[in-house]
């Protein structure tokens, strides 16, 4: 005796699942970039003296140099950075200047909020 179990529509179901998964991945990527945008705002606020750290604005070059990748070229990664030469000196301090920690403190302070943004983005 042979029992054959045949389920119809498997290719269609697979296509639907794949499409749904693809949409979820797009949502996740967008959510991560949204979180990066949020962190960018927090770092800029910190540099401007609106958070606990010392204000680091003289000409505004440092504050205006903080960027995040908005072109979605890197999947599932959002980088908040400054590429000006003295950014490391302000962030980590030097032998003559105390560290300002705008980036690290902003990331530590907002870790829960960043996770929340990502969770909301993929609901």
């Amino acid at each position: 005796m042979v029992v054959e179990i045949k389920i119809n529509g498997i290719p269609e179901a697979q296509a639907i699942l794949k499409a749904q998964n693809y949409v979820k991945l797009l949502q996740l990527d967008k959510a991560i970039h949204d979180a990066g945008g949020f962190l960018l705002g927090e770092v800029v606020s910190s540099i401007a003296g609106q958070r606990a750290e010392t204000r680091s604005v003289d000409t505004g070059r440092f504050m205006n140099s903080v960027t995040t990748d908005s072109d979605f070229t890197q999947n599932f990664v959002s980088i908040v950075q400054s590429e000006i030469p003295y950014a490391d000196h302000l962030e980590f301090g030097t032998s003559r200047m105390v560290a300002r920690k705008h980036f690290r403190n902003s990331a530590n302070r907002n870790e829960t909020k960043i996770l929340e943004i990502v969770k909301q983005g993929i609901k």
Partner: protein, 152 residues
């Protein structure tokens, strides 16, 4: 010398513990007296600084997980910033090598300094060079190290 980290003093003692094991195990290139007290600090010294020096500061100690709903124990993350301040790049990198190798190679077994006191899961999270301009500029490397600690 801090030789033990307990749950009630994890915030105050863990930085001193890391400082003290570096004092005891990293060779001072200038062979200064004082068993490393003029070489490894838990904050940036205010005066009479003679380089090279190493500074150790904590960097956002926090709970990352409860150890059960009916438990007061927590899993803590202990991140530290160990910074080597040196007179030149060679000295900076050589001392940084010594620090990293010491932590990496003394986690378990004979000579263990971290797991024996409850510091688990050693990770180097970052290394960033911060060099001041000019020949006389201080060359430093900021190293992020992280351990997990179960606070019972």
């Amino acid at each position: 010398m801090v030789s033990l980290i307990s749950g009630n003093s994890v915030i105050s003692k863990s930085t001193l513990f890391v400082r003290d094991i570096l004092r005891a195990n990293i060779s001072d290139p200038l062979s200064r007296s004082g068993s490393g007290t003029a070489f490894v600090y838990s904050s940036y010294p205010r005066e009479n600084i003679i380089y090279p020096i190493i500074t150790v500061v904590d960097n956002g100690i926090r709970d990352i997980r409860r150890m059960g709903m009916q438990s007061e124990s927590t899993l803590m993350q202990l991140p530290f910033e160990v910074r080597v301040w040196a007179r030149n790049v060679v000295e900076r990198d050589s001392l940084s090598d010594n620090v990293y190798s010491f932590f990496k190679n003394n986690q378990f077994g004979t000579g263990s300094v971290s797991v024996n006191v409850g510091l688990h899961d050693f990770t180097c999270t970052s290394m960033t060079n911060v060099d001041e301009a000019g020949e006389e500029g201080i060359k430093s490397k900021v190293m992020g190290y992280k351990w997990i600690y179960i606070n019972e």
